[in-house]
Amino acid sequence: MMATPKTRNDAAPLLRARDVHKAFGPNEVLKGIDLDVMPGEVVAVLGPSGSGKSTFLRCINRLETIDRGFIEVDGAQIGYKLQGDRLTELTHAEIARQRRHIGMVFQQFNLYPHMTVLQNVTEAPIGVHGRPRAQAVAEARALLERVGMSHKESAYPRQLSGGQQQRVAIARALAIQPRLMLFDEPTSALDPELVGEVLATMRDLAGQGLTMIVVTHEIGFAQEAADRVVFMDGGVVVEQGPPGEVLVNPQHLRTRAFLGRFIN
């Protein structure tokens, strides 16, 4: 499933978001987001703090509910089902089922502190996907190898550096064999010298055809690894396109102002 070739880009979009609105009380954070993501595509979402990019990402796996609009992943509407002409909210158990193949990597890593590295990775495969323990452990070891963390499989998260924790968190998300990976500012909580190892891991994944939506401040990563850059500001998508266009020759004033801060 991870080896979805990019030549399938003419297929149906993996993610479809239409007119997504979200407000926290009187504060309107998302003001109508439209976004399609194709299988195998790597989309970098850029934008200033408070632009709503993290909130939008969290709406995709329903960590946040939305007020208006529509989100669909892999052909299934997230959070609701249409019965006849009645749209009904899904139960917690049904939403849990929808999340089974959406991986997520958090800004603060959020590893389970009471479990070892290996247990962190095998928890969902065994407990949610019902995989046999031996198989889950073997797969987890292979994934830890891939992110360069196999030597720490029996360590506890607190004994690791931030970069190591985030690489374990990536392995943990990969262990559920995700069709879609969400990265919520995966390097923002890291010391500058640790950012590189995490970005290298992500670049590796991007090269292997995993569908990724990456909310980030790393312009360099967007430039090298993303197929498309989406620039958000004030709760809307201001402009989007290949990194070579949006990052090099931005059409909108707000994009230019934002990127200018990084270029200078």
Binding site: N61, L63, R100, F106, Y112, H114, M115
Partner: protein
């Protein structure tokens, strides 16, 4: 380097005699003197207690393993274990109910805690024991409908069941608040992460939230258990012959009040000492992955 040497004045950094690796610590005369004084007082007091005839040590040792005392001890232990187990088992769902978004569930849990925490245990025990005065019959029936099963209240409420029920309900109220505090202490991000991986609510609670909450739950629970052991002595008012009641029954006959109370004291201390050891084991288990916390759990033992 030469500039640094000059600003250092008399203390030259390259002087090998000034390497702190070879430094000595001054002998702690003050502390040693203090220790000596304290130990003299302690020894004097110990001799005073051991040599004092009024303490009646021979009487203490004669009754320490008396069958009546051991019988009382076993009642105290059984009451504690059963009431505590029921209290925790009942406290967990009450804590979860109090945290739920459901107004009715949360309200009922709140009322339970409000009542059982807000009234003296002694009063609860006496009311429970005299339940037949309020409800002569206990029955299982459809609300406002026919009765399915019925018992005479006095057959159901013996001193033992009244004691267990009273202690357990009271304990459940306190444990519910302790467990709730523990659940609240777990980071919101942990629950979100478990949810984002498609974990069910039950599994999230069991695998992710509770094991982390235990670090905050275990120490006050140890506290509760220890007050429960002593709290069981209240059941003597409803004629349960627990440890305290059984020594009382002996000294009412022999008038050796202090020696027999010492028997009870020795047993209470023996039980709580064992529990202290068990508690620190449990704390170390749930502290895994928290290096600093694990070290902190070891400290009290090293300090002794």
């Amino acid at each position: 380097m030469s500039a640094a040497d000059r600003t250092a004045g008399l203390a030259r950094p390259d002087d090998p005699l000034r390497d702190v690796a070879r430094a000595h610590r001054p002998f702690p005369w003050g502390r040693v003197a203090l220790w000596a004084v304290v130990l003299v007082f302690v020894a004097d007091f110990a001799l005073l207690v051991a040599g004092n005839e009024s303490f009646g040590w021979p009487v203490v040792f004669r009754y320490l393993f008396d069958p009546v005392v051991l019988q009382g001890l076993s009642v105290t232990l059984i009451l504690t274990v059963v009431a505590m187990t029921l209290g925790v088992a009942l406290g967990l769902p009450i804590a979860i109910a109090r945290m739920s978004d459901d107004k009715l569930l949360g309200g009922l849990a709140w009322i339970f805690v409000w009542f059982f925490r807000g009234t003296p245990l002694l009063v609860q025990l006496i009311i429970l024991y005299n339940l037949s005065f309020l409800f002569p019959q206990l029955s299982i029936s459809v609300p406002f409908g026919p009765t399915l099963l019925s018992w005479n209240t006095n057959d159901v409420i013996t001193p033992l069941t009244a004691a267990i029920l009273g202690l357990a309900l009271n304990e459940a109220a306190y444990m519910a608040e302790i467990i709730r505090a523990g659940l609240l202490s777990v980071e919101r991000g942990q629950i979100e992460t478990a949810e984002s991986f498609g974990m069910s609510r039950g599994r999230t609670l069991r695998r992710i939230v509770l094991p982390q909450a235990m670090r905050a739950i275990v120490p006050p629970t140890g506290n509760q258990l220890i007050s429960m052991i002593k709290g069981t002595s209240l059941v003597s008012v409803i004629a349960m012959s627990d440890l305290l009641y059984s020594v009382q029954s002996i000294y009412n006959r022999t008038f050796e009040v202090i020696p027999l109370l010492l028997v009870a004291v020795i047993w209470y201390l023996a039980i709580t000492s064992i529990l202290n050891v068990v508690q620190s084991r449990i704390e170390r288990y749930y502290g895994r992955g928290h290096d600093r916390a694990a070290v902190a759990a070891d400290l009290p033992q090293e300090a002794k």
